[in-house]
Symmetry: C2
Subunit: 214 residues, 2 copies
């Protein structure tokens, strides 16, 4: 059965995963340091680069395995808010978005889909988490769904108990302020079986698997 | 550049990775307990089974990423020794060998290749590690080469300094006797940068990356 998964989700020691305001210069809203150790090229597998295969890299590389669609919040797609005044904006990633699958962008403002040659397409949707998930599964060809962030988006799916698996990464820095996955999520851990492992780089990887219910 | 990788290579606390004699009933030569925690279905990725995604599973699933060919010793292919008196033997795996790529089987005894519908093929070769690697790379379509074991085979490639990466797994059991990767390999660790991580299941994962030389 297809699952709903979160991968490579970075969290600071004080619990933040993004800054408050996304701008062109600050795509993580000022929390860019969370991604300082992250090499985005590693998501596509162990063979794409002649760099050491560390624990961090091996785990990063599971991001795309068996994934047929991503759901992301509008802030991950770009810095615009409100009506789409700039339809030339096609995301942060240029002509080669790394997703290589359909991507559902949650927004209250409709817009026509965007298609790229590498298999990536963006589909704009105004929907609840449940309805967005059903829509995304229709695009996933039976494969798993990744919830791509940012933290507010993951939090909504978590609150709706729609997440089967989360790979969280505690990064040993403090941010002081920002957006947290955990706001209003007291006791969320009770629904999961949790394992953690420390890597030589100083980050801690957490594997949250939703406990199967009767 | 394509690399030479070892994955999911199990080692007991006393250093053994297989028993001495392969038989039909004992494909690991009596060291089958080393594989008790190993679910072979996990090698194909995170999506193939609705089981928790643990650290062990995530790392197991990197086995096939970017691999274009495997090289294995004859004992991994089957229990026969000497001349191929039973050419009906097509490996331990039935009609669906898990490899899904060409596989080079090292043997002093020639035999015609075997092809399966799922992309697996077995090619029998009598060659030094260097020559076997060159032959395998010709079948790999530019992808990485996996050295699949058993321990004597990995040891030969290690002694020839042909291994770029090893994912070793220390299993907390003792075997008392068997075949070891380490025989005659004193100081081999000096050629590698080594990281290790303990999983909740009690195994220890080791990542050996060959240190790049000037």
């Amino acid at each position: 059965m297809a699952r709903v998964r979160v991968h490579n989700f970075f969290v600071s020691l004080d619990g933040y995963s993004a800054g408050e305001t996304i701008t062109l210069d600050q795509p993580i809203g000022g929390a860019e340091r969370l991604f300082a150790r992250f090499d985005g090229r590693f998501i596509h597998g162990l063979d794409v680069m002649d760099e050491p295969i560390t624990l961090d890299r091996a785990l990063t590389s599971t991001w795309g395995q068996g994934i047929g669609v991503e759901i992301m919040g509008r802030g991950k797609f770009g810095p615009q808010t409100g009506e789409w005044t700039d339809e030339d904006w096609r995301g942060w990633w240029g002509d080669e978005p790394p997703f290589r699958t359909p991507v559902v962008v949650l927004t209250h403002h409709q817009r026509a889909p965007i298609h790229f040659d590498n298999g990536t397409s963006f589909h704009f949707l105004d929907a609840t988490p449940e309805d967005a998930l059903a829509y995304a599964q229709g695009l996933a060809d039976g494969r798993d769904v990744r919830i791509g962030g940012g933290p507010s988006t993951v939090r909504q799916f978590l609150a709706a108990d729609l997440i089967d698996f989360m790979h969280l990464v505690t990064v040993p820095i403090t941010l002081g302020a920002g957006v947290s996955l955990w706001d209003g999520q007291a006791e969320v851990q009770d629904r999961f079986t949790i394992e953690s492992a420390t890597s030589a780089s100083g980050v801690i990887h957490h594997f949250w698997n939703r406990t199967i219910r009767d």
